[in-house]
Every structure is written in C-alpha cells, then in structure tokens.
Amino acid sequence: MIPAQFEYARPSSVQEAVRALAEAGEDAKVLAGGQSLIPMLRMRLAVPSTVIDLGGVSDMRGVRDDGDALAIGAMTTYADVIRDPMVREHAPLVVQATETVADRQVRHMGTFGGALAHADPAGDMPSVALALDMMFDIEGPGGRRAVPAGEFFVDYFTSALSPDEILVSVRVPKLPGWGTHYEKFNRVAQAWAIVGVAAAVRRSGDTIEKARIALTNMGPTPVRARGVEEALAGAPATAEALASAAARADEGTAPTGDVSASSEYRSYLATVLTRRAVAAAAGIPQDG
C-alpha cells in the first residue's frame, strides 16, 4: 500500500499549475483533496510520473458572488462548501448533496472541483452539477474556456478536461423560485450511492413549469432524466402525474451491477427515487 515513485510539484498559482502540468507531460496527475487519487496511488492503480498538488493554490479556494451565479473555487473543500452562507442561501441542493458525501473526515479533505474533475458517475457532485446546469471554468496553456455541465462528463472517470488543463472554478446558477432535492440511496452512510437523484423543479401554482433531473450512478456519466423532464413540463403538480412521469426515469440509462445492486434493481430504484426527489423538490404530497 505504498505508491510507486513519482515526481512532485506544488505550484502556488493557477498559472504555475498550468505550466507545471505542461512540463510534466501526459503521465501527470493533478492532486486536489486526494480522496480518490491517494487510494489509487496506494493501490498502484494509478502510477503517474508526476503529481501536481494544487493544495498551495490559494486563489482556487473559496466562494464568490458572481451575479446570477456563485463561483466556487475548485479547491474549496466540501466542508467549506457546506458552511458557506452564500451556498446555503442560493444553492441548497449543493449543500444537501454535499452533506451526504462519505464521512466528515473525507469532507474536510475532499474538494468540490476535485470531485467534479474526477468524473465518477457514482459521485454525488456530478449529477448535482447537471441538474443545476453549472458552468465549468477551465484553464490550460491556450487560456481559459467555459464548459457547461452537460458537456463536461464524457465517460467513466473521463471529463472534457484535456491532459494539460485544470478545472479552476465552477459557476453555480442561483435558481430563485426553484425547489430542489437530492435523494440518495446507499447501503451505509459513508458508501457511494447505489442510485442518486438530483432534482430542481420550478412550479407555477398547481403546475410544474420546468424540471431538471439528473441521476447518479446510472451509467458511465451522470445523466439527465430527459423523459421525466419532458413529461413533467406543464404537468399538474399531483402525485398521479408525478408517478407516471417518474416511471420514465430509467430511459436512456445504462446502469451496471455490483455486489450491492443489480442493474435491474438500479433501473427500478431510479423511478422510485425520482418520484420521491421531485415530490420533495416540488412539495407534492405522496401517499404512504
């Protein structure tokens, strides 16, 4: 349980980090909070030539008001995200989902941006990013670019980041008038989700105006439940309408099976949990 040898760089600014990454070449790995990378290094599942530790890049930490959005620095820890008054006010879904991540120790080390850049479809942050339509600010040798959440997640543990790019911050839209909920289903509190559902819903009186629903661990990337969203748009805010819409939650998903759940069960759970998540987000009472 000792990593193979690697070179180590600890830049103190984004520019330095980008330069270090370019110099290190393709086999480099970027270290954020280390909650995924360190175990992979220790098990020698990852054998990078260089580890670039962003722990010293202080301008990548913290939350800033950016008008219609909040800009969360990629190196902001989960714990700091949960505590931040702006996040609590404008992005309660982020707070709710982040509180379910692993355990307290992990939340004090793990970072918001690290979790997103890791692009684990079983992670909680990616589906939340999709449901909230977050915008990813990325920096590389060619400068800065912005990628919407819908284009960021490419495959298992693969994002739109090029090997020479770094995720600097993430803009989280403030969604006044929306209700949100994260429904996570796991076997023990610190485990990854078997299935998770991030729901953001805007109601207009007795009608659901718009819903954005994203699923955790239902395929190689977090995935929007488009069928449910379509069915909900303009639907009455009733348990019956919700139930029939939620039945479409597994459309277009490709869940896998593991020791805790088969793909069949995941597909079924997605429908149940979507119904519960939307009901909670939209304030629709459920039977039983």
């Binding site: 805790s260 759940a261 069960y265």
Partner: protein, 801 residues
C-alpha cells in the same frame, strides 16, 4: 500499626474507567507496527492473483537486483525449512489435513496466497521489488461452492487427497443416550418446518491490520505479533520449525482488535520467522487492509438444513441439522472445529427430546475460514431462532409464547440438554419479561396490525431472539473428547512488591477487552489493595510463560477464576505472617474488608502491604515461613458457563425499495455477575453491531474465477455509527454457580443474539406478503426481490396457512 476501620470500596461491580484507554486511544503505545529494531529489514509478500494454478516458473532473481533489496525467496527456496501450517483441531480420526506451506511451492489454491517474499532496507523498496519477480501460472479448474465441490468429478482443491471432503462429524441423541430418534420424531410430528439457511462468509474487520516483527539476534528468537494467541503461537513455532520452545519468545504487545481473526497462526508469521533466520537480521511485515481481506481467515460460510418437528400445541419434538461448512483451501488453527462448537447449541434454550447434527467440512478455492466472534454459536443460534419463528408463523402463535412453551424453566437448572451439556444456571423468563417491557412489545404489535390493515408502504416487523451460549472455553476433558489439540485451563500469578503494589500476570491476552481494568478490580477486592496499585502484565511469554490466550469468551470465565485462586493463595501465604505481626494464632484471623483482623477485635488489622514489607525485610518472620507472598494458580473449569438473554428488534421495511431501518433494539442479557458494567455494555454494543452487520450489510463474495469482489471497505460494508440503531441494553443477573465470582462471559453474546433478531424482524414485517425468508445480508435489493417473488409466486389469498 495500620488501621483499616472502613474497608476499601468494592471494585467488582463498579463502572471503573478503563486503565488502557488513554494509551490506546492516543496511539501512544506499542503496536507491533511501531517497533523498529537496529538493522531491521522490511518484508513485502507477493500473492497469487489466481484462485487455483500450478506455479510453472518463479524467479526472484530480478528482485534481488532492485535498489535496497537484501534478500528474496520463493516457496521452493525454503521448501525444506518452512514447514507446514498447523491445524490443532482435526475433529475426526479421518479428517483430511492437507499440506499447508506458508509460501506456496508448486500450486496456489486461493487468491492472495503468498508465493514469494522480498526483504529490503525500507518498505517502499520491498514493495517496488515485488514487481520485478517473474511468475508464470498454469491455471487449474476452480471450485468455489460447497455443493459443487462435493459433486462427482468436481475439480479437486488438493489433487493428492482425492476428495474435497474434509470430514463428516455427527452427533445423535440416540447414540449419546440423551434423547430419541429424530426420524421417528419427524414421522410422528404434527408440524414439520424444513428450512435452508445460508451463513454468508464474513471478514473479521479488526482495526489494526496484522503485523509481525522477528528478531533473531542472540540465543533466543523473539517474535512480536498482532495476535490473540502468543502462547499457542510460541508452541506452534517450536513444534513446526523444530526450534526448542525455550529458545522462542513471543510477545503480543497492544493488539488492536481480533474478533477471532487473530486467533490464528499465520503464514506471514512463519514467513517472517524464516526470513529473519535466513538474513540473520530483524524483519518486519505489516499487511495492508486488502491483504487482510484477501488472505486473513474469514468466518461463517455454512449452509444449514434445518428440520424442526413439533406438535400443533407448539411443543417441539425433534431437531435435525445438516450442515455444510466451507473450510476454504486450507485448515487454519481451529478451522474444522468452528462448526462443531455450534453442534452443542442448536437445541439452544429449548427442551428437545430428539436431536441429530451432521456436519461435512468442504475444501474450496477460497481463503480458509476459522474463528470469527461466536465461532459456530452465532450460526447455530441463527438457525434455531429463525426456525422457531417459522414454526410460530406456521402455528399462528406468538413467537414468544412458542418459546415459553419450550424453554428450560429457571427452577429446572442445572439442566442437561439433549446435546449433552449441563447448563449451569439461567432465568429465561425474567430476561424475556424485562425485554418485552422495555421494548413495549404489545404496543408495537398493535402498531404492526394497524400498518398491515392500512396497507402502509412501510411495514413494521418484530424479531425475537432468545439465546444461550457456551462461554469459558473450556473444560480440558471436553476439549480432549472433541480431539482438540490443547487443554482449556488458564493461569494467573500474583507478585506482591515490597511497597504493597501488586503485579498480576495473566495467561490471557487482551486485544481490546479491558483485562487490565477488570483484573485490577478483581485483585483489588481479593487482596485489599487499591485499584490503582495493581499492574496487569500479559502477552509476553517471558513474563507470562503459561497461558492459553483470549478467545471464546474465556478470559474472565476461566482466567478470572485463576486470578481469584492465585489471590486466595497470596492471602493464605500472608496469614501466618499477619498472625505473627498481630501476635495471635493464624486460626483466629479472618481476611475481611481488605485486611487480616482478629475475630472479635476488628480494630487491629494487618494488610497485605504490611505482610509484603515484612516478607521483603524478612527480619522477623515466623519459623519455617517462606519469605514470599507470590502465588500462582491454574484453573481448569469443570463446566462451561451459559450466559443467555432475550433480544427484541423492530424493523421498518420500505416495501417499495426494500430498505430496512431498525426502529428499536432491546437487549436484556444475563452474563452472570458483572465485574465492570461499562465494559459489559461496550461488549454488548460492539457485539450487537457485528451481528446487525451480518444481518444487513457484510458479505465476502467471490467472482466465478475466485477473485474476491469485496477486497476493500468500498465493497465490504462495515456499518458505522450512523447505520446502527440506538440500543437499549439491560441485564438480569443469575450468578454462575461454578465460578468463584459468579461471572459467565460476554465477549460473543451480542453477536450471537442479534443476527436472528434482525432477520426475524424483517421476515415478520413481510409475512403478509408471503415472504418466509430473506437471505443475508438483507440488502435492499434482496428484500425487494423477496417481496416481488412472493407476490409473483403466490397470488393474493393463497398464502400458506
């Protein structure tokens, strides 16, 4: 003159804080991994990635070229010196005991089996060098399931044995003369419940990974090991390697948990021993968590076929158990005996007139199984308590009422069971009544009925588990009759220092149990010294040369009795000295309230400290009295002790998702007289947590090629505090008549009792759906499938009556 008008406060029964905690919690202590010796080398072990294969080529040469490497060798290199891992419990005359080389020589039989070792100047270099070792494997067919392994033409785990069967062990009450014939009972029965239960494979998830340091410097080889059994380890090292026993010293320093998982003599200990001898330098090996999970021994893994015969009034008339027990690929120190320990407990607290038990041990290409908290008894308790609930459902009888009709009544103790054991004492009525009161049994039954009536999505279930278990392993004669390779006695000695401070030396070997605290309490009361004035020494064969270590809830039940006897001998040795100091006849002295007093003149007193000072100077001792108070006692229990209790669990089952939530949990245990209630409560909380873990969360599983799928805590789910319910614990106290303190033992009780309570509660919640079982662990998907299958298999209204 010392006066002691008011005697010291009794320590036994007091909730003293643990003496050990400060150093254990802060880690400022000696764990094996903390040990660093001059010139010490670090070992890394290459393990097989194959579940069954022939080693066709293995070359450690390239590893020797790697930086920092001092030595590297394979099983073939040490084939003539490494010996074969010992099994101390072949349960029958014809038990198959295969050769078990610490480092595989020609063939590997489970993933994770050690094949080569590297010794380097530092741990990282040793790990790096492993990658340079060249190995070629020729795959052999893999057999994983027990029934597949017993089928004709099954691939053989040990080709030279010609069979995958390790043994078949039987007990029949007809032959034992303790009861009738189960076949006749079944033929005459008005109701027969036949069930198959699977005890899934579990991994003992102790906190401290196993670690071993060997120092070959000098005349005596010293081994430090994170083990539960330093004394047995020393003996086995001597017997296997041929090094004389007195030239081997074994130390178990502070050990971070075991749960039976460190009741083992491990290949890694032997590999380190050989490495130290070959290099002539101290070596250290500390395994990773993945190593522990892959190659440390596992627990449970049995298939249980239960046939329970009864009359319609609920009276049980016969019990037949057929067991398959997975040994894994090799036999560990007590592998074959674990299911046999259960053989005596299936009849549980009930008066069965006929009983038969048959167990077949089976080899498979998996890591060996061996003791895990409860070892055989949780499995037995699960099967009988599940079957009793099934019988209650079959008879439409309250499960507690069914138990009442069949259990041994308190006035019937001592009671000799159909399985030949004599239960010492107990009061099942009192424990059950108390548990029902704390639980609010009737109110919960009413709520359950209401939820059933309203078709609530979340159904309520109530699970009952009434158990007893055999503690205090063990009377040596009984172990002998079961072909176990050692006795079951325990030793304690007491040294009284000149200043009146006391050293207690115990042959038991704590790894989290609080011996230092509890033994101090006992010695304080017995000798009239302060709790703080007692030091408890353990786990080093140099300071405590005699002992049989800690497992099977034996430390207090056996070792505690030895300590009481050793203390009594100190008092008897001090008596003539105290009489001399008090100028009276020894016969006129009584030892009460911590001091010797002349009968009728309680003011004049001499303490043990007074006597020890007199012994130290020896200026004025009575004629012929040996100047020492030090004493030693070895205690061989005449019988086991039988704690018991009633655990009640209420679960809420989300019938839509299959998720189970434990709503309330009540445990009323009777562990005899209690030395320290806080420690007892801690044992119960931890034990219940582990039992719940088996019911709901934990399972070691392999893929079809024999790769462990649950090789880390990501997949092997050990519950944490947020996953566990609030536990209400209470006690009744029926003293053990055969124990000088009346104590029984508590180390395994919680684990034994809790698993069936939880599963019974889940099944009870789902009975209206036609569900009669959910396989463990009852993870959400399995609960969901059980509901779905029952619905599909049995259309509404057609449930069995």
């Amino acid at each position: 003159m010392t006066t002691a008008e008011a005697g010291p406060t009794p320590q036994v029964g007091a909730a003293r804080s643990r003496k050990e905690d400060a150093r254990l919690i802060t880690g400022r202590t000696m764990w094996t991994e903390n040990i660093t010796l001059p010139g010490m080398l670090h070992l890394a072990i290459l393990r097989s990635p194959m579940a069954h294969a022939r080693i066709t080529h293995l070359d450690v040469g390239p590893a020797l070229e790697a930086p920092g490497v001092i030595a590297a060798f394979s099983g073939r290199d040490v084939a003539d010196v490494q010996g074969s891992m010992p099994c101390a419990w072949p349960v029958t005359e014809d038990t198959v005991v295969p050769d078990y080389p610490p480092l595989a020589v020609d063939e590997v039989r489970h993933t994770g089996e050690p094949v080569a070792v590297v010794a380097a100047r530092d741990r990282a270099s040793a790990m790096d060098a492993l990658e340079a070792i060249e190995v070629d494997y020729e795959p052999l067919p893999v057999v994983l399931g027990m029934e597949e392994a017993l089928a004709e033409n099954a691939p053989l785990v040990h080709g030279d044995q010609g069979t995958n069967k390790c043994y078949t062990w039987t007990f029949d009450s007809v032959q034992a003369g303790t009861g009738g014939d189960v076949a006749a009972a079944e033929a005459d029965a008005e109701v027969v419940v036949k069930r198959r239960y699977t005890q899934q494979r579990l991994i003992p998830a102790f906190m401290e990974p196993r670690s071993v340091v060997v120092d070959p410097t000098g005349d005596q080889i010293t081994m430090w090991s994170a083990t539960q059994i330093p004394h047995i380890l020393r003996l086995m090292l001597a017997m296997v390697t041929g090094i004389p026993e007195h030239k081997v010293r074994v130390v178990a320093p502070d050990v971070g948990g075991g749960f039976g998982g460190k009741l083992q003599v491990t290949p890694e200990e032997f590999i380190a021993f050989v490495a130290a001898q070959r290099t002539g330098r101290p070596v250290k090996y500390t395994e990773s968590r993945s190593d522990t999970m892959m190659s440390g021994h596992h627990g449970r893994d049995q298939i249980q076929d239960v046939t329970l015969s009864a009359r319609r009034d609920g009276t049980v008339t016969g019990l037949s158990i057929r067991l398959l027990a997975n040994m894994g690929a090799y036999l560990g120190i007590v592998t074959p005996g674990v299911p046999i320990l259960g053989a005596f407990m299936y009849n549980a607290i009930y008066k069965f007139p006929a009983y038969r038990f048959e167990c077949t041990g089976v080899f498979t290409n998996t890591t060996k199984t061996d003791a895990y908290r409860g070892a055989g008894r949780p499995e037995a308790t699960f099967a009988i308590e599940r079957a009793m609930d099934e019988l209650a459902a079959e008879l439409d009888m309250d499960p507690i009422e069914l138990r009442r009709r069949n259990w041994i009544k308190h006035e019937e103790f001592p009671f000799t069971t159909v399985a030949t054991l004599t239960y010492d004492s107990g009061n099942y009525e009192a424990a059950t009544d108390r548990a029902m009161e704390l639980f609010g049994y009737d109110a919960l039954r009413r709520e359950q009925a209401e939820r059933r009536r309203s078709g609530d999505r979340v159904q309520l279930g109530i699970g009952v588990s009434t158990y007893t278990e055999m503690c205090g392993l063990a009377p040596s004669r009984v172990l002998g009759s079961l072909r176990y390779g050692a006795g079951g006695w325990e030793n304690a000695s007491v040294r009284v220092l000149p200043t009146g401070k006391v050293e207690v030396i115990t042959g038991t070997s704590p790894h989290g149990q609080s011996h230092e605290t509890a033994w101090s309490q006992i010695a304080a009361d017995q000798l009239g010294v302060a709790f703080e004035d007692v030091e408890v020494l353990h786990g080093d064969t140099r300071t405590s040369p005699k002992g049989l270590d800690t497992y099977g809830s034996r430390s207090l039940a056996v070792g505690g009795a030895a300590l009481v006897h050793a203390c009594e001998r100190v008092v008897e040795k001090a008596r003539p000295i105290a009489a001399h100091l008090l100028e009276c006849d020894p016969a006129d002295l009584e030892f009460t309230d911590g001091a010797f007093r002349v009968r009728g003149t309680p003011e004049a007193a001499k303490t043990i400290a007074d006597c020890s000072l007199a012994v130290f100077t020896s200026h004025d001792l009575p004629e012929g009295v040996e100047p020492s108070l030090d004493s030693d006692a070895t205690y061989d229990p005449a019988n086991f002790s039988f704690p018991h209790g009633t655990h009640l669990c209420a679960t809420e089952v989300d019938t839509e998702t299959g998720r189970v939530r434990i709503r309330s949990y009540v445990a009323v245990d009777d562990v005899g007289r209690v030395v320290n209630p806080t420690i007892v409560e801690g044992q119960l909380h931890g034990g219940i947590a582990q039992g719940i873990a088996q019911a709901l969360y934990e399972e070691a599983s392999y893929d079809n090629d024999g790769n462990l799928l649950t090789g880390s805590f990501v997949d092997y789910l050990v519950p944490g505090a947020p996953d566990l319910p609030h536990m209400v614990t209470d006690r009744t106290e029926t003293p053990a008549p055969d124990h000088p303190l009346g104590a029984k033992g508590v180390g395994e009780a919680g684990t034994i009792a809790s698993t069936p309570a939880v599963v019974n509660a889940i099944v009870d919640a789902l009975r209206p759906y036609g569900v009669t079982d959910v396989p463990m662990p009852c993870m959400p998907e399995r609960v969901w499938r059980a509901i779905r299958d029952a619905r599909e298999g049995a259309p509404e209204g057609s449930e069995r009556s």
